[in-house]
């Protein structure tokens, strides 16, 4: 029997936009198994990012059910969701979103610090993950001293350092050139393969879509198709 990590059923989410109501999610059902490499594709406004935010315990649906790692995300308080994110989730954002006053090592170690790991251990762990994403020697660099590709690698290392069940990536290659984009996706694939980490990536980048092992196509807040490749 497959080990189910995410189980979403009948997720609805609407936003008010002026006088109009926009249906960001309109009855989404999705199951993601542990160790999967899922790409959510679709045009802008199709609901990819909203669904990713639901999986990331950053947003709540208007109705529906959502369990992640066996826990009901919708029954959690804000504090419980924060703790859940810390223990179970990793994020890679489109704009890298590193903390700019911290260097690469400190950025990666930040989540470990929130988890309560002591300084020596978390810095050692951060250095290992930076080496794993090909950034050995970049530990002391601040975000503004690195290229976009390097920053995104740091973000991946940060997402991985806390040993999460799931890494959620929102348009991770959108700000990278094609070479860096391909390199990043290759890194994510390798980590998925070697570490067994589950990835759910929202993207309309053909390179990312080509790497998907499960491709979820979305349109107008609904899942159009789920293809296991």
């Amino acid at each position: 029997m497959a080990d189910i990590l995410i189980q979403a059923a009948a997720l609805h989410k609407s936003y008010a936009s002026g006088d109009a109501v926009v249906k960001a999610l309109d009855g989404v059902d999705l199951v993601v198994e542990r160790g999967a490499f899922v790409v959510l594709s679709g045009r802008s406004g199709s609901g990819k990012t909203t669904l990713l935010n639901m999986f990331g315990a950053l947003d709540r649906p208007d109705c529906g059910t959502l369990t992640l790692a066996g826990q009901d995300l919708l029954a959690m308080s804000a504090a419980e969701r924060a703790r859940f994110r810390l223990r179970h989730l990793g994020f890679v954002f489109q704009a890298y979103n590193l903390i700019r006053v911290l260097n690469a090592r400190e950025n990666v170690a930040y989540v470990l610090q929130l988890q309560g790991m002591d300084k020596k251990q978390r810095f050692a762990s951060a250095d290992r993950w930076l080496a794993a994403v090909g950034l050995a020697g970049f530990e002391q660099r601040r975000p503004d001293q690195m290229s976009g590709g390097q920053q995104q690698r740091v973000a991946v290392a940060r997402a991985l350092a806390a040993a999460p069940d799931l890494i959620l990536a929102d348009e991770p290659t959108a700000n990278l050139d094609s070479h860096n984009g391909e390199s990043l996706i290759a890194l994510m694939e390798r980590l998925n393969r070697e570490e067994g980490t589950t990835f759910v990536i929202a993207s309309h980048d053909p390179t990312v879509i080509a790497a998907a092992r499960t491709l979820v196509t979305m349109q107008d807040g609904r899942i159009e198709a789920v293809n296991h490749l």
Binding site: A79, R83, I99, R100, V101, L114, Q115
Partner: protein, 402 residues
Amino acid sequence: MFALAWRNIVRNARRSLITVSAVALGLISLIFLWGFNDGVHNTMMRNLQQVIVGSIQIHADGFFHHPKLVHTVPDVNRVAGLLKSAGVAHYSGRLRTFALAAGEDSSEGLILLGIDPLVERQVTRMDSKVDQGRFLRDNQEAACVLGRTTARNLGVVPGDEVVLLSEDRYGSLAAERVRLVGVINSGEMGIDRGLAIVPLGFMQQMTGMQGRYSEIVVQLQPARLEAVASQLKQGLDQSYEVLRWYDMYPMMKQWVELENAFYYIFLSIVLLIVAAGIMNTVLMSMLERIHEFGVMMALGCGRMQLAGMVVIESVLLGVAGIAIGVMVGMLLVHYFHGVGIDLSDQMDSITRFYLNPVVRTEIDTDHLLNTVLAVLMAALLAAVWPAIRASRLEPVEAIRHV
């Protein structure tokens, strides 16, 4: 968290520096003003005690408000024993009564105070206030020292004779002719007018009060005042009264407390300005980082942790300002304690308050600590609103914030 908060402060160094400078400047001015204030007040209180009053006086019960020659300290030896056990090495016994002093052409009612010149020098500094002639030397000599105004009113100068009329222990008239040996110019009306100081032995002889004392005067460091007073009160029965200087002259203490209250009002106003400055910086810094806060929340940072970081930033700004403010403020207080602030031009109007012409700044520890704590509290309070705003952010909205 601490390191992150510190780097956030350093991130906008100029703005943080301006805020820290404002805190420091506010604190420097407060410390200096406290230094001046405490310098004036402590000098006044010290002078009051050291010139004549002493820190504590022990009388027969009720003597201070209803002084009578025969109403003397019941058992001087008992008082002496208590003072010794309290670690008081020097104290002076005095005799006090009302008298009439007559010069060549005029007379004036006054208080006749008998002191032992040698003992009194170890307790008070009234001898240092003599500006014409000399102070008393011999406990038996037929001599007196008058205040400047009394001497002028009587038309006498050092070397002249003065007749003193009083009552003796039996209520009969006691009169003696004494030589004016010195004139005191203390600047304090209560001393310069209406006081004649004579040798204790001579006065006891004159009034038939040999071996009797109206008051025992003790001089103490301020820190010991309450403990010794309490010890004396416990050791003496109700036939004695133990009065601290401010029990006898409450107006000066009340005046000091009133002035301190004004300073606390001023302190509050400065604190409001300091708090507004810090809040402005912390709030601006927080609003600039909403997106970053959203990312941190996404990574698992709790709302309280986020609020805590904002508070730490505010406190760090406050602490940096306090460190500079205390250092510079105390240097100023130390400097002006050494060189003094010359108020000679204003002296005519203030000499009655036991003030020296040159004010030397000093600051009471409790005033310094209260001020520092108040600035720290202002920094904490300044963080409340930004911290609440940070803790109420919704991660998704915060991440979208540009």
